[in-house]
């Protein structure tokens, strides 16, 4: 009863690169450039340190250790040479939170209109948490979620509130 439903931890040091391109045409080049397969719709591919996530029919997001961002930007620019595409470093535009613990899905379910408990691993959902835009996916012992950096304090507050001890969603 005394423990919150989940632990909310802000993560830093994550690089994020937005990639926009015609994935049918440039998919192979991008895959080669980042070393990961192109994910299916709403899917994610990864190798343990990097994740390539599907954001829309012509948009991907590469997440990687921040230190690797400049190198990956260069590799992507090269991969898309001669191709219509857009590579943007968005690392600083985001606030990232981990929601971990056995009832982490309850915290997500209170704020995000998704079936958190049924969300498969390797699936990224673009949605909202209460009143602000986020993306969320299963990560470790719970979920990882990011939103706009300007709303970091708001996100942390609503996540903490949703995790208040004793408020599990399980029927009582």
């Amino acid at each position: 009863m005394a423990n919150p439903l989940a632990t909310i931890t802000r993560q830093t040091g994550l690089g994020m690169i937005t990639i926009r391109a015609d994935l049918d045409r440039a998919g192979d080049a991008i895959a080669e450039g980042v070393g990961l397969a192109i994910p299916d719709t709403a899917g994610m591919t990864g190798d343990g340190t990097r994740i390539l996530a599907w954001m829309s029919p012509d948009e991907l997001m590469l997440m990687l250790p921040a230190a690797e961002t400049p190198g990956a930007m260069t590799a992507l620019e090269q991969a898309l040479t001669g191709e219509h595409g857009l590579i943007v470093d968005m690392s600083d535009a985001r606030a990232v939170f981990d929601v971990t613990g056995p009832d982490a899905a309850d915290v997500i379910s209170k704020l995000v209109p998704v079936d958190a408990a049924a969300m498969p691993t390797g699936h990224l959902r673009r949605s909202r948490a209460a009143q602000t835009a986020i993306a969320v996916w299963r990560h470790g012992d719970g979920f990882r979620l990011f939103g706009f950096r300007s709303t970091a304090d708001y996100l942390e507050l609503i996540l903490q509130n949703a995790a208040i001890a004793g408020s599990q969603l399980a029927p009582r």
């Binding site: 391109a21 470093d89 379910s109 209460a130 709303t151 001890a165 029927p171």
Partner: protein, 976 residues
């Protein structure tokens, strides 16, 4: 613990725990109930039958029902911020130390002055207010309405903030079963067998509905179903969860009570579930109907089923001598339950000519007198039931005998609860045999695929006997809408239909006579069903009376509309997490905390907080703004411009796209240069403005206003995705990736030259309206030589994570230069001194660039841009459009923003004609005089003329039309 209150039975009560007493306070009296009690059962156990006063006539009222349909027993609960009016005694669980206050009475429930209305009731018929207060016309607004408003409303609204926490949660299921009675549990089992996730919602704390009380072996049957369901991993069972509304596409709203009226638990009080489901099965049961006999509202007249609930569920005797009056067999169960509990049942009065079958036989075997073909002519007693006068049901109320009693248990039959089914379009049919509206199986609510997505089971579907094999045979219900059938006016005027709003049979008949043939009109004219119980008990009886009065069958009258919520929702569950600091997302720039630590006075800009100014010491905001402006004009200042929108536009067709977005030519902008541009809607109106930088051959960076960032990005994507889908352009909103700092003032370059870096900031290398990339003290940066202040100015964009670092270094390096942070108000005034327009000040959605003298920013060469066609329409090219000018106050006072300049004569509405208005107005500290901009008819051609601006005080301010550029018209400073 040895002492039991007088009306607590020595045994029985399946929901209470006799070992655990619960103290509570009622109108200052200290009383005790038991764990498991509702407020109603606890009060009844203490002999408190009087629980409220009706709304209109303030008549004394006791509880009528034992569930959500209760119209009378409503209390104010709690204290301070936790005070809540209109809490239903029959559905509110008693908790330790609860404080109840009676409502709608003064000075007390027992001696209510307002009951004087009761004596006046012959003069307060339906429509009284409408007829009485219509003349003289002005009296309504100034006399009648305020008085009526003062006495209107049931209960008092709380005045303090609610300290409790509330939340929402999203849930998904293949099937949701609403109702945890035997029909619902059975349907849940069948749905679970068929596969998929099944969610079962029960409004009360207990499973089983009526079955445990109504059928031998009922509890065992329920327990077996519960055991079966709990063993399944595709079934979720939720108690205390009221499904309040069903909406399109299987969207179901339900409220779960977690810690209602019990703040000590420290968890959210209520939770609003937002459920998406494939199928809904409503097993919502049925509500018993009252009978309409004279004085059926006297405390002690109750629904037959509720009398047996109080006995069986809570071990409470509502009275010692209970007369049952009915038109069906089910009410006989109440008589049998009462007798089994040791209470006296002097008679069952049955309106039907004969009563045969298992239940009447059992009653007769128990020695109870059954009077068939009979009715109640009148209830004796005013504050409590003293007896009933019996008559022939077919007659006019001529008394046949009088029976003493203290409770009347009435049953007028049952109405299926069709609310959820009806919320989303399900249609009803009138079932003549059972005298009820029930769901029409051919016209259910439809899901996204056009097939029915709601099925109805059990009593909710009209299957009143439903008990999976435990049923007894029961005789048919005989419709009884008025008792006795030929009751004269005097009796009908005492027959209550709507107990909370005091609507009687004669009121509905009056409405019919006065032409209110539509049920919806009658409802509003009489207020039938408009109380907080939403007519759960009064609806069908009212329809039947109206139908009789109109001499038409009930199905021709139809029902009123069933609207959510089924029972009231707290506003707090709807707001849920959005309160206090989480009321709205508050967007913060990377330098937000620095501003906070330096005495900032904030200004909300959308969801952002921006620094309005930074008052020092005893300075007020005005003084701070003036100081900040002078610092920028004389030395150097910094503005946090991070909130400005920043959108990348890239691709082979980006130049073409930019030329369509902006009114001027952007495709010809050389790499490394900046250009101010205007964006219009396709209707030609000025929508946004900002500086565009050409980053590379195929890439542009668009700066937008703070409020325009998301909207303009959406506007771009809209055109790209819907209209020009074959153009090769990608956009990205990078607003939050960068912190942006404006460094402005004559010493701006001197300051930046002190900082190490790779960018040549000299006038030759980086002239006005150019940009360069490099680093400043090791921070990667883009520097834009642009100016909104009119001063030498650099806007520096760095990665957001390093914005604070740069800001602090600037302030460190510029300390001896009197570097001053300035806020949005200083920015606004400085741009007005320069005659720069501001989106939202000079524009309001009806202004085109031409109005603002911005023709220079509109390309004549381009064949098209968004808004071009609209700007060529006759109204847009009309020479009489108001145009931008400067305004110079004649007496040295600042003209109020928004003030209108009057013209000669009156318009066709008899109002003074106007010829212009003020769009921006400030005291300019730079010029030490007021400055203003405004839109004036033929303005630019009227330089030097004086306009009159009448003030609300009657005073007339005057201003001279001047050039809108008040300061440094040649631009020597910003080019410096």
């Amino acid at each position: 613990m040895t002492h039991m209150p007088p009306f607590r039975l020595p045994a029985g009560g399946r929901l209470i725990d006799r070992a655990l007493q619960v103290p509570f306070r009622f109108d200052g009296r200290h009383l005790r109930g038991l764990t498991g009690d509702t407020l109603a059962s606890a009060l009844l156990a203490n002999g408190q039958m009087l629980m409220g006063r009706s709304f209109k006539y303030h008549r004394p009222r006791g509880p009528l029902a034992s569930g959500a349909e209760e119209p009378n027993a409503l209390f104010g609960l709690g204290q301070g911020g936790r005070f809540e009016p209109n809490q239903r005694a029959t559905t509110t669980a008693l908790t330790n130390g609860m404080i109840l206050r009676s409502q709608n009475c003064w000075p007390s429930l027992e001696a209510d002055i307002g009951s004087v209305n009761n004596w006046l009731s012959p003069f307060l018929p339906a429509g009284f207010y409408y007829k009485t207060f219509i003349h003289p016309r002005p009296f309504w607004k100034h006399v009648f309405e305020p008085v009526i408003r003062h006495s209107a409303g049931l209960g008092r609204a709380p005045t303090d903030p609610d300290p409790d926490r509330y939340e929402q949660a999203y849930s998904f299921a293949d099937t949701v079963v609403v109702g945890g009675g035997i029909a619902g549990l059975t349907a849940a089992r069948d749905a679970a067998d068929a596969g998929g996730q099944v969610l079962v919602l029960e409004q009360t704390a207990h499973w089983g509905g009526r079955t445990p009380n109504d059928h031998d072996g009922g509890q065992m049957a329920i327990d077996a179903l519960l055991a079966d369901l709990r063993a399944r991993d595709n079934v979720t069972m939720r108690r205390n969860t009221m499904a309040t509304g069903l909406y399109d596409h299987g969207y179901l709203i339900a409220r779960e009570a977690l810690a209602d009226h019990d703040p000590n638990q420290g968890i959210p009080r209520q939770r609003l579930w937002r459920i998406r489901t494939g199928q809904v099965i409503t097993a919502t049961g049925a509500l018993e109907r009252p009978l309409s006999f004279a004085c059926n509202d006297v405390p002690g007249v109750m629904l037959a089923s509720s009398v047996r609930d109080f006995i069986a569920d809570f071990g409470v005797a509502p009275g010692q001598r209970i007369v049952v009056v009915t038109n069906n067999d089910d009410a006989y169960r109440t008589a049998l339950t009462a007798v089994a509990a040791g209470l006296d049942v002097p008679a069952i009065i049955d309106a039907r000519p004969q009563a045969i079958g298992d239940l009447p036989d059992a009653a007769r075997r128990a020695g109870i007198t059954v009077l068939t073909g009979s009715g109640i002519a009148k209830v004796k007693g005013s504050r409590n039931v003293e007896g009933v006068v019996i008559c022939d049901q077919s007659g006019d109320g001529t008394p046949t005998q009088t029976i003493e009693c203290d409770v009347v248990a009435m049953s007028g039959g049952w109405s299926p609860v069709v609310h959820l089914y009806s919320h989303c379009g399900g249609k009803l049919v009138w079932d003549d045999a059972q005298a009820m509206f029930r769901p029409d199986p051919d016209r259910p609510p439809l899901g996204a695929d056009g097939t029915g997505n709601v099925t109805v089971v059990g009593a909710a579907n009209g299957d009143l006997r439903c008990a999976t094999g435990l049923e007894q045979t029961e005789g048919a219900t005989q419709p009884v809408w008025v008792m006795p059938a030929n009751a004269p006016y005097k009796l009908r005027a005492k027959m209550w239909l709507d107990f909370q709003n005091d609507v009687k049979v004669t009121d509905v008949e009056l409405a019919a006579r006065e032409g209110y043939a539509s049920v919806e009109h009658t409802k509003r004219y009489t207020t039938l069903g408009m109380a907080t119980d939403q007519g759960k008990l009064s609806n069908i009886n009212g329809l039947a009376v109206l139908s009789n009065a109109l001499n038409q069958p009930i199905q021709a009258t139809g029902t009123t509309t069933f609207r959510p919520p089924y029972t009231p929702l707290t506003l707090a569950t709807i707001a849920a997490e959005a309160k206090g600091d989480a009321f709205q997302p508050l967007r913060k720039t990377p330098m937000h905390d620095w501003h906070e630590n330096h005495g900032v006075s904030w200004e909300p800009v959308g969801h952002w907080r921006r620094a309005y100014c930074y008052p020092r010491g005893a300075e007020d905001r005005h003084a701070a703004v003036n100081r900040e402006i002078m610092a920028v004009r004389n030395a150097v200042g910094t503005l946090d411009a991070s909130t400005l929108g920043k959108i990348i536009v890239k691709g082979p067709d980006a130049g073409r796209f930019m030329d369509m977005l902006y009114t001027n030519m952007m495709s010809t902008l050389p790499v490394g240069k900046c250009r101010y541009g205007l964006m219009c809607s396709e209707n030609g109106f000025l929508m946004d403005d900002g500086v565009v930088a050409r980053l590379s051959d195929d890439t542009w960076l668009c700066h937008t206003t703070t409020g325009g960032a998301d909207h303009i990005h959406g506007h771009m994507e809209d055109w790209l995705q819907c209209e020009w889908w074959d153009w090769q352009v990608y956009t990205a909103n990078v607003t939050e990736q960068y912190a942006q700092i404006a460094v402005a003032g004559p010493k701006a370059r001197e300051l930046l030259d002190r900082m190490s870096g790779s960018i040549d900031l000299s006038q030759d290398a980086l002239p006005f309206m150019t940009w360069a990339q490099g680093d400043i003290t090791g921070i990667p940066a883009r520097v834009f030589r642009i100016s909104f202040s009119g001063e030498l100015s650099y806007e520096i964009a760095v990665p957001a994570n390093r914005g604070l670092e740069l800001w602090e270094q600037l302030h460190h390096a510029g300390h001896d230069l009197n570097i001053t942070p300035y806020g949005t108000e200083a920015m606004h005034i400085m741009r007005a001194e320069k005659g720069f327009i501001m989106i939202g000040d000079e524009t309001d959605g009806t202004i085109i660039p031409q109005d603002l003298g911005l023709d220079w920013a509109i390309s004549k060469k381009k064949t098209d841009y968004i808004g071009k066609r609209a700007q060529s329409r006759s109204h847009m090219t009309d020479g009489n459009r108001w145009k931008l000018v400067g305004l110079e106050s004649l007496n040295g006072d600042v003209i109020p923003d928004g003030a209108y300049a009057v013209d000669q004569g009156l318009n066709p509405n008899g109002q003074r004609r106007v010829q212009g208005r003020v769009t921006s107005s400030y005291h300019s500290p730079t010029l030490d005089r007021p400055i203003a901009m405004g839109l004036v008819k033929h303005g630019p051609g009227r330089m030097g003329q004086v306009l009159d601006f009448p003030m609300p005080s009657g005073e007339v301010m005057q201003a001279r039309i001047v050039d809108p550029v008040f300061f440094d018209k040649e631009g020597g400073r910003l080019n410096g």
